[in-house]
């Protein structure tokens, strides 16, 4: 029997129009970045001046920019992974167990969102120095875990709040211990939330630069590099080329994995 979501005929049409428009809005800046990365002119303004791949060649030769991009990826992967783990475990403990400090914990764990980044940056620099660590990429990674943890917590909390404990209880009744239940029942049912948390954390870390500035040593992250290059107008098109490459690589990855999925064995999806 047809399940009548809100989408009936009229709304189905409306959404079919809206979603592509949304996608256009979403990708508009990226399309412009793509466009101007091939523009034969230093200034990113209309009218266009002609086609060139010079910026990409300059990009390939620019060690500092490529290193900064690589650093941002590494830091992002690390921060997203650790923050997601921390958020998942924490959210689960808060929702499922009646721990007394749970409420206080939730509030405190969300505070990094509230505290201006410059304060977080200075405080973490002071803290790390006091513990004997120096400025480095590791410091930035740790800093980004702190910045991203509230994001992960938020997403995972909203997921676990909705998760019916009956499934876990059934497993426990059937003899599984708690750890097994967590890994075999809870986590698989929360995969989309975990993925969402990971993506959000990675995106945040990739763009974050205030905390990164205070914790950075000789190795820069991409936003720091770009911010520092704003005094040099001639480098902007090369950075646009980098942005296009990153976007292109992401989309290529997506298309490739979709192709893999279609070729793979048919699995029942939830």
């Amino acid at each position: 029997m047809k399940v009548p979501y809100v989408i009936d005929v009229v709304e189905r049409r409306w959404l079919t129009v809206y979603v592509p428009l949304f996608a256009l809005l979403l990708y508009l800046p990226s399309l412009l970045i793509l466009l101007f990365s091939f523009n034969d002119g230093v200034y990113v303004a209309f009218p266009l001046k002609g086609f060139t791949t010079a910026w990409y060649e300059k990009l390939a030769a620019n060690d500092a920019l490529l290193r900064a991009a690589r650093n941002s990826f590494a830091v992002g992967l690390f921060a997203a992974t650790i923050a997601t783990i921390a958020g998942t475990l924490g959210a689960f403990a808060i929702v499922r167990y009646n721990l007394r400090i749970a409420k206080a914990m939730t509030v405190l764990a969300n505070l990094p969102l509230l505290i201006p980044a410059i304060i977080l940056g200075i405080a973490m620099l002071v803290l790390l120095r006091a513990m004997g660590f120096g400025n480095s990429l590791w410091a930035i990674a740790v800093g980004h875990v702190v910045v991203c943890a509230p994001l992960s917590l938020s997403v995972m909390l909203s997921r676990f709040v909705d998760l019916d404990p009956a499934l876990e209880e059934a497993a426990l009744d059937l003899g599984a211990n708690e750890r097994k239940t967590f890994f075999v029942i809870t986590l698989p049912l929360s995969l989309s939330a975990i993925a969402a948390s990971f993506i959000l954390c990675f995106t945040t870390s990739f763009d974050e630069f205030v905390v990164a500035f205070f914790l950075s040593g000789p190795e820069q992250t991409l936003p720091l590099y770009i911010w520092g290059q704003l005094r040099f107008p001639t480098t902007l098109p090369m950075i646009l080329a980098l942005g296009t490459v990153v976007l292109g690589a992401t989309l290529a990855l997506v298309v490739f994995s979709e192709w893999l999925r279609r070729r793979g064995p048919k699995v029942a999806m939830d």
């Binding site: 809206y18 412009l32 303004a45 201006p116 304060i119 405080a123 936003p223």
Partner: protein, 285 residues
């Protein structure tokens, strides 16, 4: 059924979160609280107790005006982002079937280019010779380019809204995805028309996701200073810029800390009031 009494294990699950977020938060708050009640002295950080920082920086009409402006901008960004993103999250949760993951990644992909690059792109879109102006000119609707699209609060709202779209889609999607479809089905069986069905079943059930999204968007945007610096113009300065300049140019850390405490307190109060208001609203009539 009793969950194990493995209290130690349970607390251990909180540990990673505790160490990272709580420790740093407590240190940060302690630091700015301590700094905010210091007399300004370029040579030393901690000299003597004094409330000058609060008196001179927080008790100024300028600060409250800028804070008010920041809160309005953040509210506008939050509302715009939620409105724009909800239908898409809905679409992915209910209509996308096997393509859910693909669509989610496609939604997130544009945000893997640097935010700074995207702001430059918005300057091209909204700017003098930009996309919007060229478009309107070719349509013959305007002769001179519109100058009011960028370097003002409007462009700040646009840039921030765009930047946070993924931050709304993902949490709302997570909440929507788990709604038990049978609830919607039964409501329909009982005669509810689709929109009423949505309003009374789906929307309330997706509320945790909406609230999570709203918090993730509203709170950080209040303190943002990068966007106003790049596209805000003189009229778009937000409270983050004030704090930034106290720590940087004005070399007045106590003032910066006092401003930060005031911002944290105000936003926290606002959130608490809204949470309280929501609780009241949910009480049965």
């Amino acid at each position: 059924m009793v969950r194990g009494d493995n209290r130690l294990g349970q607390y251990a699950m909180l540990a990673p979160l505790g160490i990272s977020a709580v420790l740093v938060v407590l240190v940060s708050l302690a630091l700015i609280l301590a700094l905010s009640v210091q007399r300004t002295d370029p040579a030393l950080l901690f000299t003597e107790f004094s409330l000058t920082a609060y008196r001179e920086s927080v008790a100024r009409p300028l600060f409250w005006m800028v804070l008010g402006r920041s809160l309005l901008i953040s509210a506008a960004v939050t509302i715009a982002t939620l409105l724009l993103s909800y239908p898409v999250a809905y679409f992915i949760a209910f209509k996308a079937g096997r393509h859910k993951a693909l669509l989610l990644v496609l939604i997130s992909a544009p945000f893997f280019t640097s935010y700074l690059l995207r702001i430059f792109a918005w300057k091209i879109i909204l700017g003098f010779n930009g996309v919007v102006n060229s478009f309107l000119k070719t349509l013959g609707l305007i002769e001179q380019p519109l100058q009011f699209l960028v370097y003002n609060p409007f462009s700040v709202v646009v840039a921030l809204t765009h930047a946070y779209l993924a931050f709304a889609v993902l949490p709302i999607y997570v909440a929507l995805e788990r709604i038990d479809k049978s609830l919607i089905e039964s409501a329909s069986d009982l005669g509810a028309r689709p929109f009423a069905n949505f309003r009374q079943i789906t929307l309330p059930l997706s509320l945790p996701g909406i609230i999570a999204a709203a918090l993730l968007i509203f709170v950080p945007t209040v303190g943002d200073y990068v966007t106003p610096t790049l596209v805000g113009g003189p009229g778009g300065i937000m409270v983050g810029n004030l704090i930034q300049s106290e720590f940087g140019k004005a070399n007045d850390w106590p003032a910066g800390s006092a401003l930060s405490m005031a911002v944290i307190f105000s936003v926290g109060l606002l959130l608490a009031l809204m949470a309280g208001g929501a609780k009241l609203a949910r009480r049965p009539a």
